[in-house]
Amino acid sequence: METSRWQESNRIRRLPPYVFARVNRIKMEARWAGRDVIDLGMGNPDQPTPGHIVAKLCESATDPKTHRYSLSRGIPHLRRAVSEWYDRRFGVSLDPETEICATLGSKEGLCHMMLAILDEGDTVVVPNPTYPSHLYSVVIAGGNLCSVPFLEGGDFVARLSRMVEGMYPKPKLLVVSYPHNPTTVVADLALFEEIADFARFHGMMVLHDLAYSEITFDGYKAPSFLQVKGAKDFAVEMYSMSKTYSMAGWRVGFCVGNPEIVGALMRLKSYYDYGIFAPVQIAAIVALRGPQDCVRQIADTYQIRRDILVEGLNRVGWPVEKPKGTMYVWAKIPQPYADMGSMDFSVMLLKHGDVAVSPGLGFGEHGEGYVRFALVENEHRIKQAVKGIKRAFEAGG
């Protein structure tokens, strides 16, 4: 008996089955059965991209010059626009030639970044729970994945330090992300400085995912990791247009910071792709350089939804705090359901309340005991979701 030669690679086999599949299936079944399910599961922005950005895309798409192969690392004007934006927003200066690389959204950037900097057997430390791509980009690249239970503030760094002190060879990379998906934890510059000191001490690189920098509330402003003095010596940041400008489907993101790391990604990508469709890049320039009031409007919309959801949940006996950032609400499963597990609890909300949420387990084992709401339905429907949850609690007993 000869083993088939046509098999998936070991890299593929390391990827676990999709955790959200079960909830998604039940959601689809409910919809086919004609039920109106309110979908607060996936973090897929529902608001339209601001009109002036869409208009620029349409306009530039008619120009035949934009129909040719673009540039893998992003056209120079786009990289310059990012550099200017970082300077305006954070006071961080970036060389558009060597310190900025455009990516097809953060996800692509993350996955290729790991391939660009990891050798088989290199260890990466990742908080847990976290955005699943933080974990699986490492898996795809063949790295060792050590996760640290994600706690708020300095406790996280203390836990991290204890782990890395006892570990060798030392991990090569630390992945962090603030404001954090799914836990909504935010950071101040002092925390970044603490993390930077830790990473420098152990000679580790840092990758900071800043996808939610502009989705913040109540006057809180998220810092960039690169605001830490000297951070460019060992850190890169992934930034994405998806949430800031509701451009999720456009697939525009950036990797910025340390020129060696950014350069490694550029080199790898030059073999992989010809870059984002040029009209999308041109529209992205307009987004970054144009009026920014749309950004506040988008964040304000999430803030109103957040208030409705959190206050509603509290009213129906589910104590939850208002997050300072991200488009999510991370909620500890209330009594008497706490022991049910996030997967079964999510299914219960779906079956008895017609509300879809993401089970915490889908973000890593330390996410168990929680669910994540994405604020991607309108105010009216979020109110309806709260009613559905109340119904589920009454039915679920």
Partner: protein, 397 residues
Amino acid sequence: MRISRRIKAMAPSQTVAITDKAKKLRASGVDVVALSLGEPDFDTPQHIKDAAVAAIEAGCGHYTPNAGLPELRQAICDKLRRDNGLEYKPENVIVSSGAKQSLYNALQALLDPGDEVVIPAPYWVTYPELVKLSGGVPVEVLAEDDAGFKMTPQQLDAACTDKTAAVIINSPSNPTGAVYTADELTALGEVCLRRGLTVIADEIYEKIIYDEAHASVAALLPKLKPQVVTVNGISKAYAMTGWRLGYVAGHSDLIKAMSKLQGQITFHPAAVTQHATLAALNGPEDDVVAMREEFRARRDYVVGRLSAMPGFSCLMPGGAFYAFPRISGVFGRKTGAGRALDGSPAVCEAILDEAHVALVPGSAFGAPDYLRLSYAAARQRLETALDRIENWLATLS
């Protein structure tokens, strides 16, 4: 009854001793997590069991040739070519009842009284005992965590005398999980070539390797190949510990000598096991890969947790299913129950009695500053065990 001096001189296996103690505790109603045994917690793949049943039904219950079924020895040659780049003929192969017997037969065939065998420490508990039983003298060479638990060519050279006959190289290693690279093996092999040593390459953990590709020393140095005895088996790769089959590939003179011995003591391994092994070696490797990937996830988890424990530090192992943390940081301290932690046996005993986790002291492997934790256990059990150890550490004064 008067017992021979030969047997009285043998050290009882410390791994078995601790497992027995754990069993006793368990019998008295205590929930003990046993992480002391080197046995995969998976079951033999179905297609292998089916092949064994079919062989029994077909009437395989008769003697086979002493060195093993010709088709099995051919399958082993095919495997060695496919996986290891080694060309052998069936007359270069003999199967025995477990890799332990393969090793013992080889040592019996190779050693004269007083011959020295270099054994890098930490070593598998069985090596020195088998060398002594065969009339040889074990010479331990300690390579600690700072050397990645790997013996250097200089260390090997310095340990050799005019009586040195052989060296045992176990990669991936039990108990440390260390994996020698092809370059490291080549460098060791060159010393062996220069000194005319026989190399006993124990490759039983070959399939449980995470980062590097496995390298076989016999394939690296063609001139050395006639002096290399490659030992392997099915226990770890196919979760077939209880089936008892190991094999040796090497010079035909050695195989003849081993056959002579085996013909007098045990004869061939059970026929049904040989048929099952044939199915294992010729069949698909999906289960092997799935098992390895599960081990990898557990390894990352276990090493992360152990590293974070005060007084412990842990090397990221490249293979096998053991973590081998340094625990000397807690020596000299006292447990909550007043027990003095004066070495790894005391630490393991205290963890067993007070935290109910069975581990093996490093002293059993010739490395007293460490302990061995086998992560061939379900994730939940590992979590429970590590929580208990962590809580126990918090009671130390």
